[in-house]
Point group: C2
Chain length 250, copies 2
């Protein structure tokens, strides 16, 4: 396959998409690195265009051969200079941000709700954990990190293709939800000792302050991860992993 | 309390301690930020000296009043320029690196062994998790990140004061250990379905490659975290959190 080199305006667009205001204006986001781009190519996302190095092209000829979107050749240095990965010798793609559609758990589902989780890396890690545990819906409060931040997409390790997001007023969302709503706090019932039935929404809070008062007031129950030592807290992504593991054990 | 301003050579030493070769040469490491420094002040670590802003001094007068080590005043800008925290308006301390003493689990203990965990942030996160779950001993292979890397200390959120490290040839260490040795892999027995008795050593592997062949060959059993969805893997710190939670549930 012989490709045209990436036009300068495509590289410029990629650089612009590191900022949220540009992602919102263009309704586009970045997917970087071999693993994430391959997961993207196997997903239903609407890909706008893709920049590939010769190496990535050679290794993924079958996947790339029948692409319905424009494909350009790029040097590693161009990809690294335009994108946000320090080292990326493979590919960078630009895809459409899916519509922000409402999401609710079905009868046999748990879903996670994040209240003011600010760090894009934590959000990406939680998306990966959700995907590991078969949780495919994530509700995000409006002050959460942007799920289409390049750092979030990178940290999700391809799991963004299998987890849907709905960013909304979380308090109102919880108020309207008829199913069981559980908040993760430092003083709830031990997650080792209760069984949570589906459907349920599990809310996790901010890195420093936990759940906001409004969200706390709208959950039916609070749960905690038992502590056996002396650390003051667990990081929110670690807490998400432990809680999901407890939800899913039979 | 009235303090002298930090001499230039102290600031220079702090900058030097961001590099491992200098930490090894001086046998000193950095502790940065209010939370970590306060935990340090309440620990048995041998503190060499401390730089404090006026704010931190005012807020922690009781803790700092009877310090047996030199205490200097510093501007926020000096602390931030010398240390590795982007924002630090409180304090930075320099303390002696403890001796690298052998560690073994006692009868009622689990201990973690890390095989080639390279990322200082992951190592710090694992230290924090160990501390949450009351695991106070950590064996590190020689190619693991340095536990006294400033990024590790920061990520441990003060838990480095309660968890001891022994960096050694992990394969030889496991070979000599008489207790049960468990390896975390992708194809082991479900951690939901087995009970691991103490004393036991739980080995976790490299971010990309998992456990090395030598370590795999020296464990008695392998365990896995059941997957319910499609993510290819869990980050090693997430895996550590889930495994510790399963070890400790009664």
């Amino acid at each position: 396959m012989k490709l045209k080199p990436a036009p300068k305006e495509k590289l410029k667009l990629i650089r612009a998409l590191s900022l949220k205001k540009n992602r919102v204006a263009h309704k586009l986001f970045l997917i970087e690195g071999a693993k994430s781009v391959k997961e993207l190519l196997n997903s239903q996302f609407d890909i706008s265009f893709l920049l590939s190095t010769q190496t990535f092209l050679d290794q993924n000829a079958a996947l790339l051969n029948k692409c319905p979107f424009p494909l350009f050749m790029a040097k590693v240095s161009d990809i690294e200079r335009s994108g946000s990965l320090k080292t990326n010798n493979s590919a960078i793609a630009v895809a459409k941000i899916p519509e922000n559609k409402p999401l609710a758990p079905n009868k046999s589902e748990y879903i996670l709700a994040l209240d003011d989780v600010r760090d894009p890396g934590n959000l990406g890690a939680i998306i990966r954990i959700a995907d590991w545990y078969g949780i495919t819906k994530l509700i995000l409060s409006k002050n959460c990190a942007d799920p289409y931040n390049p750092k979030t997409i990178i940290a999700s390790m391809g799991s963004f293709t299998r987890v849907s997001f709905h960013q909304t007023n979380l308090f109102k969302y919880l108020e309207k939800s008829a199913c069981q709503k559980i908040g993760a706090t430092m003083e709830g019932q031990s997650i080792h000792k209760i069984k949570i039935a589906t459907p349920a929404i599990i809310a996790l809070g901010n890195e420093s302050n936990g759940l906001s008062k409004l969200v706390l007031d709208s959950v039916n129950k609070t749960v905690s991860i038992p502590r056996f030592g002396h650390a003051e807290s667990l990081n929110v992504a670690m807490a998400a992993a432990v809680i999901c593991d407890n939800l899913k054990r039979s």
